[in-house]
């Protein structure tokens, strides 16, 4: 016997918090974009993203990768705090009590609604201590200067910080495949910095599966 009335908390059923039409609001008069909590959102024009990439490249050369990664980490840390606060507030449970499925749903929808493309979790290597995040239609990959190696350092930084905060472990993130190089998707490997280190040099000449085999084979 199931009591339907008991399934509701305060007569409400949370839906998809980050559903695009519900999450993004605009105030034409003020020229503002806001989320459903009234917090400001900013729109990044393609020109600005391209300018950041080329400006950084001119000013810092190869170091721009590290700069972008660190910017991503900073962004990711704040993004996690906001994500946590909003999700906890809406669903009425702390993030740590959320089922993995629901957490991923929220993260995926959040990613889409912010215009960052699609993401998915690949747990094939979880038992070996690595988490793989797959991403599609990344604007950061599309607009970056083309190189002979993956270019989404900003996203790698965001993911490293986000999952470090989530797991309470200091995680590093390395991108192994990139849409800018014609790959089917962007693959990001998350793991402890020391264990991921060998992959840094592999990304230029090895495929994702080979890198994962090498990383897992060493342990």
């Amino acid at each position: 016997m199931i009591s339907v009335a008991d399934l509701l908390v305060n007569d409400r059923i949370p839906g998809s918090y980050f559903a695009t039409d519900a999450y993004v609001r605009s105030d034409l008069e003020m020229g503002l974009l806001e989320n459903r909590q009234g917090d400001r959102l900013i729109a990044l024009p393609e020109t600005l993203i391209q300018a950041i990439y080329s400006g950084l490249d001119k000013e810092t050369g190869q170091a721009s990768r590290l700069v972008l990664f660190n910017c991503g980490r900073w962004w990711g840390k704040n993004f996690y705090a906001r994500f946590c606060a909003e999700v906890t507030d809406y669903y009425g449970i702390p993030l740590s009590n959320m089922a993995m499925v629901e957490f991923m749903q929220a993260l995926q929808q959040c990613w889409i609604t912010h215009g960052w493309g699609k993401v998915d979790l690949d747990q094939s290597y979880q038992h070996r201590g690595f988490l793989v995040i797959k991403g599609w239609n990344s604007v950061f990959a599309r607009l970056a200067l083309k190189h002979e190696q993956p270019v989404c350092y900003l996203e790698a930084g965001i993911l490293a910080a986000f999952f470090s905060q989530l797991t309470g472990k200091d995680l590093h993130c390395i991108q192994t495949t990139c849409e800018s190089m014609g790959a089917d998707c962007n693959r990001f490997v998350l793991g402890l910095a020391k264990r991921l280190e060998p992959a840094e040099t592999m990304v230029t000449n090895l495929a994702h599966d080979a890198i994962m085999q090498a990383l897992c084979g060493e342990n």
């Binding site: 016997m1 199931i2 009591s3 339907v4 009335a5 399934l7 509701l8 059923i13 839906g15 998809s16 559903a19 695009t20 039409d21 519900a22 499925v101 629901e102 991923m104 749903q105 995926q108 929808q109 889409i112």
Partner: protein
Amino acid sequence: MHPQIESAFNEAENRYLHPEELGVITQYVESLPKRMQTYCTLRDKEMTIMQQVADQLVKTLPGETTEALERSIKNALLVMRYCAMGMLLNNEAFVKERLRTWMGQTMKAYHSQTIDSALYELLTQALNQALTPQQLSFFNPMLAAAQAEFLPQDQPLTAAALGW
């Protein structure tokens, strides 16, 4: 609001509306009291309808865990609320937007398709009893739009599907 009505309102500075455009608005305005009434019926009978569905669902699928059944019922309550609002607004897009991707993915992740197919069949039966034919004519398009977002669609009747 229905996209056709919304686009008609955008024509204000261009011209007066054509009779057929006014017809769409009239149709909506005239149907509004009945939509409201249907909405109130659904609101008042929400628990009764879903309790009836839940009781039958437990009998139909005795092998399923209570947790899985409860999850599907809770999702169905949400779907009903979105559909009721969509009906009031006469806007299927509202229902679709709110359910897009995540509901289907949730069902897939929890492997609840069997439960959900049975549940929506029972829900349709319960609604047929609870609503008048006219009320159903307002509500059913919304429920169909919602289901199209998450339940596997029947194969279209094509030569290929029939193996000809």
